[in-house]
């Protein structure tokens, strides 16, 4: 199964009630400690910082495994522009505000609360995938922790 198979799948509650669409898949990346710098870090820090390319300062984490944490369920498919309903960015006005309004009600569901991922085979189904949630699932807030966290 690929992440792309989960995206845009319809989400149904334990009793079959439509809850929305999978707008994104949340992963937990293991951050590995770096003993030595990668291509971005210089040896002589002081001097290197002046002559280093600006892009070397961009946030990049050395990563290990990526675990599937859960699914983000929202009212509309295709994902939101720039994920504004999940981040705290407020500019440039009015774009984040409009996007947040459109995607209000997006929540996170843990992967453990997913009962089944099925492909529609019944008559009249368009073959789209459906995600059925387990009984007692919880709706968690969709926000991502801020970048500096």
């Amino acid at each position: 199964m690929n992440v792309g198979d989960l995206l845009d799948a319809r989400v149904l509650g334990p009793d079959g009630a439509p809850l929305g669409v999978v707008v994104d898949v949340r992963l937990s990346l293991e951050v590995v400690d770096e003993a030595e710098g990668g291509p971005g870090a210089g040896e002589d820090r002081e001097e290197a910082e002046h002559d280093a390319p600006l892009s070397a300062q961009a946030r990049r984490d050395a990563v290990g495994g990526a675990r599937l944490v859960g699914l983000l369920v929202g009212p509309r498919g295709a994902g939101s522009f720039h994920g504004y309903e999940r981040t705290g960015i407020r500019s440039p006005w009015p774009i984040p505000q409009l996007v947040r309004r459109r995607h209000r009600g997006t929540f996170l569901v843990r992967w453990e609360d997913v009962a089944a991922v099925e492909t529609g085979t019944a008559v009249g189904d368009d073959g789209a995938r459906r995600v059925r949630l387990a009984r007692g699932y919880t709706q968690l807030p969709a926000e991502l922790p801020s970048a500096s966290g």
């Binding site: 002046h50 002559d51 280093a52 390319p53 600006l54 892009s55 300062q57 961009a58 946030r59 295709a78 994902g79 522009f81 720039h82 960015i89 500019s91 440039p92 006005w93 774009i95 970048a147 500096s148």
Partner: protein
């Protein structure tokens, strides 16, 4: 001293590189029909391109991602694909106009028919992209483009009524004979001519390829801040020459020879030769940048290896794209389509295409995940939002105005 020379070179190259065939034709047309009453659009466009180019440069330098990579990453495959098609097509239109412009200028200089110059011009552009050290060519084209200052010289030699020119500009007073719809159509065209998208693709791709340091970013900011407004002055002098010579005589601009008519009248053959050389250099430089932009947009959308500093074997599909784009441009021009008409279309469509790249850049410039602490400050953001409105309004109004005015006729 060496630093000062390097800084001067950067600024002068930006000035000479600002004007392309779109600016030449559109400013001359506007001057011949509306006098200086659209001068405010040039000012608006210059401020806009300074803002846009410096934002795109900062985004590229800090995040390490060039403009079309950002479009691909932020819009998702379908929307970004549509964006790519539109941007690539309009870029191709501009490339066609620039190559046509080189041929027209060479035709002015010799009496050889433009159609014969077209393949020569395209081949020359390709050879430079293939073999020549790019920085050298960019500096040569940029500095020689400064020869367009001949328009300003011609303007002074014509001894115009400065008061009259000023009166036409502030407050904008279009001649009564022109319909308001035409006025606004040409406002959009002039705006698109000043804020050409290829400039931004080119600028941001360079920032990534050259791995700009903080110092580089500062240098380029100065180049843009000083160079582009001075380039805008060149644009205004082209319009003013047309306003002084062509407008009173009711001469319409339908070919490059009318664009340079005021220069010939003011300064004779010598000044004309200087200006024609400047036109060849400016359009050649613009053709280089536009061809590279066609490669950048496609390669960045698809994630290919790209770069003007990479040897062609290391960026094979990128170079193939540019070759195909040049061949398409030549193909279009060889159908005997009027390059001036192509130019007029390309600037209007540039205005239509502007939001496609402006919005993603503005959005990412505010994203700490990409920019860290270098996100837009409040002033830049305020200006950015104002221009967001302007750019969207211009894009939406362009096609209806084009239809309503029959492309300005």
């Amino acid at each position: 001293m060496k630093k000062l020379l390097a800084a001067a070179l950067g600024i002068l190259t930006a000035v000479g590189g600002f004007v392309d065939i779109g600016d030449l034709v559109t400013n001359a047309v506007v001057g011949s029909r509306f006098g200086m009453s659209l001068a405010w659009v040039v000012v608006l466009g210059v401020v806009g391109i300074v803002l846009f180019a410096s934002m795109a440069g900062r985004v590229a330098a800090v995040s390490g991602r060039a403009t079309f990579e950002i479009v691909r990453e932020r819009l998702g495959p379908r929307a970004a694909g549509a964006n790519l098609l539109a941007s690539f097509a309009i870029n191709l239109l501009t490339l066609t106009a620039e190559v046509g412009g080189i041929a027209l200028a060479l035709h002015l200089a010799s009496s050889v028919e433009p159609r014969l110059w077209i393949p020569v011009a395209a081949l020359a552009v390709w050879l430079v992209l293939w073999r020549v050290k790019f920085q050298v060519m960019e500096n040569v084209a940029g500095l020689m483009g400064l020869l367009l200052v001949g328009f300003a010289i011609a303007l002074f030699q014509l001894g115009p009524d400065w008061g009259e020119l000023l009166r036409q500009a502030v407050p904008p007073s279009p001649p009564g004979a022109e319909h308001p719809a035409s006025y606004w159509y040409y406002a959009v065209a002039l705006f698109g001519a000043a804020m050409t998208p290829y400039e931004v693709f080119f600028f941001s791709s360079g920032a990534v390829e050259e791995r700009w340091t903080a110092k580089d970013l500062g240098t380029n900011r100065v180049n843009v801040l000083l160079g582009f407004p001075l380039g805008g002055l060149l644009s205004l002098s082209i319009a003013a020459c047309a306003a002084v010579v062509l407008l009173p005589a009711g001469i319409e601009v339908s070919s490059l020879s009318q664009v340079v008519l005021p220069v010939a009248q003011a300064g004779g053959v010598l000044l004309l030769a200087v200006v024609i050389l400047g036109i060849v250099a400016a359009t050649f430089g613009a053709a280089l940048e536009t061809a590279l932009s066609s490669g950048y947009t496609l390669a960045q959308y698809l994630g290919w290896s790209w770069g003007k500093f990479r040897r062609p074997a290391r960026a094979a599909r990128f170079h193939l794209t540019m070759i195909v784009a040049l061949l398409l441009a030549v193909g279009i021009l060889m159908t005997s389509v009027d390059p001036v008409a192509v130019t007029e279309m390309s600037v209007v469509f540039s205005a239509v295409a502007l939001p496609l790249t402006y919005v993603p850049i503005l959005v990412v410039a505010n994203d700490p995940e990409y920019m860290g602490e270098h996100v837009n400050g409040r002033v830049v953001n305020a200006l950015g939002t104002v221009y967001l409105v302007i750019v969207v309004v211009a894009a939406v109004a362009a096609i209806p105005l084009m239809i309503a005015t029959g492309a300005g006729s």
